[in-house]
Homo-oligomer: 418 residues x 2
C-alpha cells in the first residue's frame, strides 16, 4: 500500500490539531455569545444545487469534486458553506427571520496547489438572513474584534461598500461591461501597488487620465469621516456612502478603517465588504472576510427577498498566526506507576479535572521520563507503594525541574493554578 | 433548482445541532481528560488505501463513494476512521508509542437506507496503538462510563473476548471454514433469540446437538466469576479467559457484564470485544462499541507489530437518547430595543457571558415576543430610554412569566444561575 494522503490534502497530527481545536472552540463560544446557532449540512450536495447559475459560478465548478451514488445520481463535494446555506433557507422558508446560524466545516476544491492553498480546508462561517439593517454588519464586526482580542491577535478591520465602487464607475463613465474587471484590478491595490494596477488597467483598455483619477478617488486621505466627505463631493447621492456611515457610526469604539479600494473577488456582494488582516503578523493575507449579499439567496432560489450578511474565518491562516510550539498531547500530567496499580489515583485526578495520562507498559522510569519529555507533558508524578499509602504525590515540573509533594486534592491548584 | 439533500444524507438544523454539539463537546472533554489527543485526517483517501486487503474488506468497498481529481488520481470518501488511523501510524512510524488519539468526523457509505441508517454519519473514535496491556481496555471502559454518567444515561457494558469464541469453536470441533459464519450467527443471540439463531445455524449445516451445546456454553449463568469458572472447565488453557479476567479485575467499581455470546460483525478483532447499550432507553441498538485489534494495522502496513484497542461512539443514537425539546437557538436572552440603540448594553451582557440576541429589525414588541417564544429563548428584556439611563433591565422569564428588574451585573446570576 502506498502510504499517502491525496494530493493537496493533509493530516493534522495532535501537535497541530490541539491548536486548531482550541481556535474552533473559541470561535464557537463567541458565535454563540452573539446568538448565532450551530447548523450542519452534508459534505455532499446534489450537482444541480452546486451548479445553479447564481451559486459559485463556472470557475469554481471546474474545481468541484464530482461523484455519484449507486442510483447514478449526480453529486459533488461542497466548495463553500454559502450555497448549502442558501439551499437550507430555500427548503425551510417558514423558518423565523432573521435566521442567524454558524457553520464550521470542511470544503473541497480540486484546484492548483500552492502556498497555504489546499484541496481540503476548513471554513468557519457566521451569517444572518432576513434583515437589511446595518446593525448586523456592526454585530459581526464586534464579534470578530472580540475573537481576535481573546486570541491575543491585533486585527486591522477594513470595510467598503460595493455600491460606492459602482457609483465611482458611473461617475468616471467606465463602460458597463468593463466595470467588474476594473473593480477586480482595483482590489489588488493594497497588495500589488499603484504601478502594477495601472499596468493592468491599461491592459484592460482604460485611459491613462481615467486611471490616475480613479486611483486618486479610491485613496482619499484623512480619517474615515474626512474620506467619506471627499467622496460625497463626487458622488453625493451614493447610497453606499450612507450605508458605510451607518456601519461606522454603529461600530463606535471599534478600530474600523474605511478603504474605498477594497472590493473582494466574489461578484455576489451587494453592499458592505469586510476584510480583516493582522497587525504585526507574518500572515499578510486576510484572516477573515465577508460582506452583504442581498440578492444571492433569492436569485439562487428563483425568487423571494432574502437579504443576508456574513463573514468567514480562515482557520489555517489563524492557526499559522497563533500556533504555539512544543505540546504534542493534551495531557497535563503523566503518572508513572512504580510497581503499583494507579487506576484509582488516576481516576481521582480525572475527577478533579486534571488531564491525566498513565504509563501502562511497565517500562522503567528513565524511559518514561524520556517519553513525557518528548510529548511536552508539563508535569510527571511517580507513584509507588508509599504514595499509595500516604495519598501524597511527588510531582515534578518538567520545565523548572522542581519537585513538590502534595495531596491529591491539591494537584489541580499546583498544575492548573485553579 | 431542485432543493434537496442527496439521498440518505440530511441537514441538521439548530434545534438538532445544538444537542449534537453538546454531545461532541462532552466527548471531547472526556477524551482529553484521559490523555487522548485530537487528530484529523482528510475526508478523502486514496483508493489504494481504502481498498487495501486488510482494510474494510470487499463488502464495504461496494458502498464506498469513488471520485478522482483533475490529475485522474483514484480517490474515495472514507468509510470509517480506523483505516485512516492505520495509514497515519504507517506514515509516522517514528512516533512515540503508545500513541493515544481521538478523532471525531463524518464517514460515508453508499449503502441501503433504513431506520437510523444514513449515507453520511458521524464517528467519534478513541484508540491507542502500541500497547498490549489490558490496562487500556480498562481505561476505555472507565472513559465510556464517565461519559454516559455525565450525560445522564445508564450504560449496560457488555464485554467478551474473540479468543474465547475461537476456543469454543475448537472445543466443539466446528469446521474451520465455518467458524466465522457461526460466530456471526451467535452474535445475534441477544437480539434474535435462541430459536432464530438455531434455525440459522441449522441452515449453515451445524448438527442439532452441537447447536444445543454451543448455545448452552455461551450462556453460562451467575456472576462474571462464576461464568468464567464454568467456561474454564471446558477450555482450561484459553488465553481469552485470562485476558477477560484481567480486564474485569481492572474494572473494579464499574458495572461490566461478561457475555460469551458477544461477537461483533467485524472480523478484525483479536481479543477484547466491547458493546455498550442503554438501560431504560428506547434506543435498543448499541451506542458505543469496539475492541482490540492487534493484527489489523500491522497487516495493513505489510509488517510490524502494532497492537491496538479502541471504541467508537455513535453520535446519532446517543443524540436520539438524550435529545431535549424546545430550544431552537443557543441564545439565553433576547433584547428588544424600544426606540433606542442597545449595542452597548448588549455588548456588556456578552462581556458577562450571557448569550444574547438583539432585535435589529425594529418590529413591534408583540411580534418580537412571538419570535422569542417560537425560538424557545428563555428570557427577554425590553430596553427603552429609562433602562438606558438607569442601567437596570426588566427581564421576563418566558416560562414562568415572572418579571424582574435587575442591574446589568446581576443578569448572569438571574439567567445562568452563576
Amino acid at each position: 500500500m502506498n502510504l499517502e494522503t491525496p494530493k493537496g490534502m493533509k493530516d493534522s497530527l495532535p501537535e497541530e490539531e490541539i491548536v486548531k481545536q482550541n481556535i474552533i472552540r473559541r470561535l464557537t463560544s463567541i458565535f454563540e455569545l452573539y446568538g448565532f446557532s450551530p447548523m450542519d449540512t452534508p459534505a455532499v450536495e446534489k450537482w444541480d444545487v452546486l451548479s445553479s447559475k447564481y451559486a459559485g459560478g463556472e470557475e469554481i465548478l471546474k474545481e468541484t469534486f464530482k461523484l455519484s451514488d449507486q442510483g447514478k445520481r449526480s453529486l459533488g463535494l461542497r466548495y463553500d458553506l454559502t450555497v448549502p446555506f442558501a439551499r437550507v433557507v430555500g427548503m425551510n422558508q417558514k423558518m423565523k427571520m432573521p435566521f442567524k446560524r454558524y457553520q464550521i466545516g470542511k470544503v473541497w476544491r480540486d484546484g492548483p496547489i500552492g502556498m497555504a492553498r489546499y484541496r481540503e480546508f476548513w471554513q468557519c462561517d457566521v451569517d444572518v438572513v432576513g434583515a437589511k439593517t446595518m446593525g448586523y454588519e456592526s454585530e459581526i464586526l464586534f464579534l470578530a474584534a472580540r475573537f481576535f482580542k481573546e486570541s491575543g491577535l491585533k486585527p486591522l478591520i477594513r470595510i467598503n461598500n460595493r455600491k460606492i465602487l459602482n457609483d465611482i464607475m458611473e461617475y468616471l463613465k467606465i463602460e458597463k461591461k468593463l466595470r467588474d474587471t476594473v473593480i477586480l484590478s482595483v482590489d489588488k491595490l493594497a497588495k500589488a501597488g499603484k504601478e502594477e494596477v495601472t499596468k493592468e488597467l491599461t491592459g484592460k483598455g482604460i485611459d491613462k487620465d481615467k486611471i490616475i483619477e480613479l486611483l486618486k478617488i479610491i485613496t482619499p486621505s484623512g480619517t474615515n469621516k474626512e474620506a467619506i466627505k471627499q467622496l460625497k463631493n463626487l458622488i453625493p447621492d451614493s447610497i453606499g456612502l450612507t450605508e458605510i456611515s451607518d456601519v461606522l457610526d454603529r461600530c463606535n469604539g471599534l478600530d474600523v478603517v474605511f478603504d474605498a479600494s477594497l472590493a473582494r473577488g466574489l461578484s455576489y456582494y451587494t453592499g458592505t465588504i469586510i476584510e480583516i488582516f493582522l497587525k504585526g503578523s507574518k500572515v499578510t493575507s486576510s484572516v477573515c472576510a465577508g460582506g452583504r449579499y442581498d440578492d444571492l439567496i433569492g436569485k439562487t432560489l428563483g425568487g423571494g427577498e432574502f437579504p443576508a450578511v456574513g463573514i468567514s474565518f480562515g482557520l489555517s491562516r489563524i492557526y499559522d498566526a497563533i500556533k504555539e510550539t512544543g505540546r504534542k498531547t493534551v495531557s497535563d500530567l503523566y503518572v508513572i506507576p512504580i510497581g503499583t496499580d494507579c487506576t484509582k489515583i488516576v481516576e481521582k485526578l480525572r475527577d478533579l479535572g486534571v488531564k491525566t495520562e498513565m504509563d501502562l507498559s511497565g517500562r522503567g522510569p528513565s524511559k518514561n521520563m524520556k517519553y513525557a519529555n518528548s510529548q511536552g507533558i508539563p508535569f510527571v508524578a511517580f507513584v509507588g507503594e508509599e504514595e499509595q499509602k500516604s495519598g501524597k504525590l511527588k510531582i515534578k515540573d518538567m520545565e523548572s525541574g522542581k519537585e513538590s509533594v502534595v495531596g491529591i486534592d491539591e494537584v489541580p491548584r499546583l498544575i492548573l493554578g485553579t
